[in-house]
Amino acid sequence: MTALYLKARHVQAMRSKAMPAQVMHLKNLTIKLAGLLFACLLSFGISFSAHAAIEVYDFDSVQQEAQYRGLIEELRCPKCQNQNLAGSDAPIAQDLKQKTYDLIKEGRSDTEIRAYMQERYGDFITYKPPVRPSTWILWFFPPLLLIVLVIGWFWQSKRSQRVARGQSGVTVDSVAALSAAEKAELDRLLSRSNKHSNDNNEHDITSTEDKK
């Protein structure tokens, strides 16, 4: 993503050399406007789809209305399977909304209403599945993965810090582990090749000395 962005910036920079500054400015503005328009459309689209139906329910209190809104957002339409009740106009969704309303008017709690729906439509009816052994993986795997990744990341960054400071001794030690004899050998070889590369261009007698 970043690479793509950088590339785009690069292309833009290349173009701006060829284009007058004013044209460039106008172009930037249009792009920005188009982006803004797109964002607006997107957000409107989302809000439209989330409340497909216009409801005419009367509630006794604001709490009841809030309870109703919460529940129809949380409950799923069993027919149109990727919509909640709030977003669906399917006949069964209308019935379930009506039922939710009736139950709220009767003064039932959220838990009771969820139980009522679950008895008839199973766990599938809610976007908030109950926590029990069969759903543990659903609830606990993502946070567990996050924890593992964060720990792993910390560990990795700590290690690379230690390497950078030369404390872990992975890279530093292996270089320092040359014995005195090896060091002398290395020096000899280095000086030799240095000498040779110096001499190589000249082709004089010193290079023949090497042979001996």
Binding site: R120, L178, D210
Partner: protein
């Protein structure tokens, strides 16, 4: 001249030896890093391959989730008017004593219209069908049965949709296979036709009929197998 040629041939050798030695000194750390790098490059590849396999396995499989909460339970209690005579109130006691099919239908439902001729055929074959007229205008419902024929031994009127809700209905048409003891054993979402009649409903109904003949409840494991 020949001497200098020799030397120029030999010195690169020396240089190479020096390089080799330097490489040998670096080797342990470098190879370790390389294999580690390899693993880090391989992990996303393996994850991706696993993902591809997982998605491939699901290709062409049905994606609809069918909720079957009504199964292995008695038909929910109801007190609903008879469609043909709404002054008469039907209850669970009025349901047949032998295995039967309970079909939820409405004159407004396009798939029900498609399904209807097949229901007529089933009636001719002697299958006991009970209709639940679901959220329908009574005039339209009766007109529908007059025009297309009435395959049902009786139809009850569920105007509010409450009975359908208790059944865990998702839409019309749906069909429930009920055994002689009034327990729902099979749930067909959508139309029934020759194909699923042969493959799904007939085996289940035969099992239920046999159990009913012997006056016993059908075997649970067999129901699981035959009434999918």
């Amino acid at each position: 001249m020949s001497q200098s040629d020799n030397s120029s041939q030999k010195t690169p050798d020396n240089k190479g030896a020096a390089n080799n030695k330097a490489a040998a000194n670096n080797k342990p750390t470098k190879t370790m890093k390389k294999s580690q790098m390899k693993i880090w490059f391989l992990i996303p590849l393996i994850v991706f391959a696993g993902f591809v396999v997982m998605l491939y396995m699901r290709l062409g499989q049905p994606t609809d989730i069918v909720t079957n909460t009504a199964l292995e339970r008695p038909v929910p209690t109801f007190e609903l008017p008879l469609l043909s005579d709404t002054s008469r109130i039907m209850t669970n006691d009025n349901l047949p004593d032998q295995p039967f099919l309970m079909n939820i239908w409405g004159s407004w439902c396009p798939t029900c219209i498609i399904e209807h001729p097949f229901l007529m055929q089933l009636e001719e074959r002697g299958v006991n069908l009970v209709g639940v007229n679901y959220k329908d205008d009574i005039g339209n419902a009766l007109g529908y049965l007059n025009r297309g024929g009435d395959p049902f031994s009786m139809s009850i009127q569920d105007l509010s949709g409450q009975f359908a809700l208790d059944l865990g209905l998702t839409g019309a048409p749906e069909t429930f296979v009920v055994d002689g003891e009034g327990i729902i054993r099979q749930h067909i979402v959508g139309e029934i036709n020759e194909s699923n009649w042969q493959s799904r409903i007939t085996p289940c109904l035969m099992l239920l009929n046999e159990a009913d003949k012997n006056n016993v409840s059908p075997d649970a494991t067999q129901v699981k197998e035959m009434c999918k």
